[in-house]
């Protein structure tokens, strides 16, 4: 049973000067109880996609259903049963933690007590600060409060738009652990993120770029589809090295990746040929090692094609 079915969905923003195709013919399905990630850089169309699915924007083409309800026709039904956490912190800064939570419980016709079990894990972490105004919370705590508020009515599908953007590494890790626990409670979660490393934490992901979905599937299947060799290359002169790598006929693509450069090799070229080429180019100390492709490598390759 699909929780979210997206079929050929499009969104166009027309201004006087230009038209922007924010989302172009996007299709994917999210199964019930799945943790589905939309991965893509800023401006990929993630927020537009989420706003259409949460009935905040009307699509300009295609259709989609959330828990069986059409996003245009049955928008009122969808608003009863989804939870939505926008990218920007969108709670009342001048209300306390407790007041925010109670308010959102009431507008969803429920009480904090009735659904406390679902938010308990998250809420206990911010409960010591329940008398504090939301605006005075730290970034990580704001996220937890926003998540609690989005969950308080026990939504069937939870939409999280870039929940970890601007959150420190520890809080990010914690946040993903919370999502895993929520998944165990049977909530379908759609999460968008610009961080490639978070893709591995999702059941399935869709890689999105310039309004289009480049590839979708489990993180492993996306990585398996990558069938070139990737070599991590390092030398004294990193800047020169990248230029030499890009200039060489044997690489399909090369880009910097942490302290190494990644060289995506064409099939007919070997590691040895690369080594010889680089030494010739004046990198006597060059270090080359094979490496496993990850989502970011896949993304870079998909963007090329």
């Amino acid at each position: 049973m699909t929780a979210v079915a997206v079929n050929n969905l499009s969104k166009v923003y027309a201004t006087k000067k230009e038209t922007i195709d924010a989302v172009q013919h996007v299709s994917f399905d999210v199964a019930r109880g799945e943790l589905f990630g939309i991965i893509g850089p800023d401006g990929a169309g993630k927020t537009s996609l989420f706003r259409m699915l949460t009935t905040l924007l009307l699509p300009d083409g295609g259709s989609a259903t959330v828990d069986g309800s059409d996003i245009v026709k049955d928008y009122e039904a969808i608003r009863q049963k989804v939870g939505y956490m926008p990218g920007r912190f969108s709670l009342y800064q001048d209300l306390t933690v407790e007041e925010n939570l109670n308010f959102f419980a009431t507008i969803f016709n429920t009480t904090v007590g009735a659904n406390y079990d679902i938010i308990k894990d998250i809420y206990v972490q911010i409960e010591p600060f329940k008398k504090r105004r939301a605006g005075k919370l730290s970034g990580g705590m704001k996220q937890k409060l926003a998540l609690s508020c989005a969950l308080i009515h026990r939504p069937v599908v939870l939409f999280l738009d870039e929940p970890t953007t601007g959150v420190d590494a520890v809080s990010r890790k914690e946040f993903w652990e919370m999502l895993k626990r929520l998944k165990q409670q049977g909530i379908t979660i759609l999460v968008s993120t610009p961080y490639m490393d978070e893709a591995a934490l999702c059941d399935r992901v869709a890689l999105m770029q310039k309004g289009k979905i480049l590839s979708a599937g489990t993180p492993a299947s996306i990585i398996n589809a990558f069938n070139n060799t990737i070599l991590a290359v390092k030398s004294e002169k990193m800047f020169q090295l990248l230029r030499d790598l890009k200039a060489w006929q044997g690489t399909e693509d090369s880009y910097s990746f942490g302290e190494y450069h990644h060289a995506v090799m064409k099939k007919e070229f070997s590691e040895e040929q690369l080594q010889n080429y680089l030494v010739e180019k004046g990198h006597p100390d060059v270090e080359i090692k094979p490496t496993q492709p990850n989502i970011e490598d896949c993304f870079m390759q998909l963007m090329q094609s």
Binding site: L56, L57, P86, L91, D94, E99, F103, T106, I107, F108
Partner: protein, 368 residues
């Protein structure tokens, strides 16, 4: 209903936690009433005047004393020559000078006529006109007393009675004006801003993705400002009656109900603005230029509508404050019953219904 109460509670928390704004909202009417009541008055009181008396007899003395005794004039100097007139005006020590010719009293008694010259500093024409008017009236009063037993041939006596405001107090027209101004500011601007703020901070996005009906969001925003406005109306009325001596001649209940009606008109206006704009600045700008200025200029509070060019007179019809101002003047100052202001009341009600419908229709259930 529980949702609605929770919404209203939230709105109250927003207002109560923003103490500075709350103080301004509640303090502004008091400040405005005080400013308009005491400082910005068009009445002329204790104006300095001087005399150049070449006659110095019992009649001139009596006239001068009467001028000096009235609350409009204070005698500052007795001049001796015509040159002194120019000099005292230059120094700005007097606004008006009364000149009596020699043998004023005997001329009056023997020839039945005697001239008095009034010289006024007309660099401020309104003050000059008012002062010469007052002075003429006082001198005429004197003349009537002198001649009162004698039958003059062919005299027409104009008898003027200033009904409802015999002392011609400016506060009588300021109080209704200030009430409409305050209500415009508190209700229209603040309501518009508070709804738009939810759009700006993104909370509207979360509210939209919830089962709450738009009408609840909108009405809940209006409730606290309605209450603040009622407090303001009461404080203005109390100040008017006990500090400015402006009477409430008509029914207090009627006055309050009409004020609440106008409050709701203003609230609806604010809500309409909030549905049309996306930023607080824009909401403020529209409230100020689109509403506050017309209220000030076209309601008849500062400038009489009858004196305006035809176009502006027509435009003034769509300014709600114009009708409210007329109602308050009629009920408060003249003491008239509802039956005499039914037309104004009806127009205000119509405007309110129209504005409310428009804002509800305009309220977007989506972001764009």
């Amino acid at each position: 209903m529980k949702q609605f109460i929770s919404f209203v509670k939230k709105e109250f928390l927003h207002i109560l936690r923003d103490t500075k704004t709350l103080l301004i909202l509640l303090g502004m009417p008091i400040a405005l009433i005080m400013i308009f009541g005491f400082a910005l008055t068009t009445e002329v009181k204790n104006s300095k005047f001087a005399v150049l008396d070449f006659s110095k007899d019992a009649a001139t003395e009596e006239i001068i004393n009467e001028l000096n005794a009235s609350r409009y004039f204070d005698l500052v100097a007795a001049l001796h020559t015509y040159q002194d007139i120019e000099a005292i005006f230059h120094k700005g020590k007097a606004k008006m000078i009364i000149v009596f010719p020699p043998s004023f009293k005997s001329d009056l008694q023997h020839f039945n006529t005697a001239p008095v010259q009034i010289i006024a500093d007309a660099s401020d024409p309104n003050v000059a006109t008012t002062l010469t008017g007052y002075a003429t009236t006082i001198i005429m009063d004197y003349q009537k007393r002198v001649t009162h037993d004698r039958k003059l041939p062919h005299t027409i006596n104009t008898q003027v009675r200033m009904l409802y405001n015999p002392q011609m107090k400016g506060t009588y027209s300021f109080v209704p004006g200030v009430i409409s101004m305050i209500l415009m500011l508190v209700c229209t601007m603040m309501t518009a801003i508070t709804v738009v703020r939810e759009k700006e901070t993104g909370t509207m996005e979360v509210l939209l993705v919830s089962p709450v009906q738009p009408i609840k969001v909108i009405l809940a925003k209006a409730v606290p400002y309605l209450l603040i406005s009622i407090v303001n109306i009461i404080s203005i009325l109390l100040l008017s009656v006990f500090v400015l001596d402006v009477p409430i001649r008509g029914s207090l209940i009627l006055l309050l109900s009409e004020s609440i009606l106008f409050t709701i008109t203003c609230l609806s206006f604010g809500l309409l603005i909030s549905t049309l704009t996306d930023s607080q600045q824009m909401a403020m700008f529209i409230s100020l230029t689109g509403l506050f200025l017309p209220t000030l200029m076209l309601s008849g509070f500062l400038f009489p509508i009858e004196n305006m060019p035809m176009v502006l007179q027509v435009v003034s019809n769509i300014v709600p404050a114009r009708w409210y101002y007329q109602i308050v003047r009629a009920v408060m100052i003249k003491g008239l019953p509802l039956i005499t202001v039914w037309k104004e009341t009806f127009i205000l009600t119509g405007m309110t219904v129209f504005l409310l419908m428009a804002s509800l229709k305009n309220f977007k259930t989506r972001l764009a």
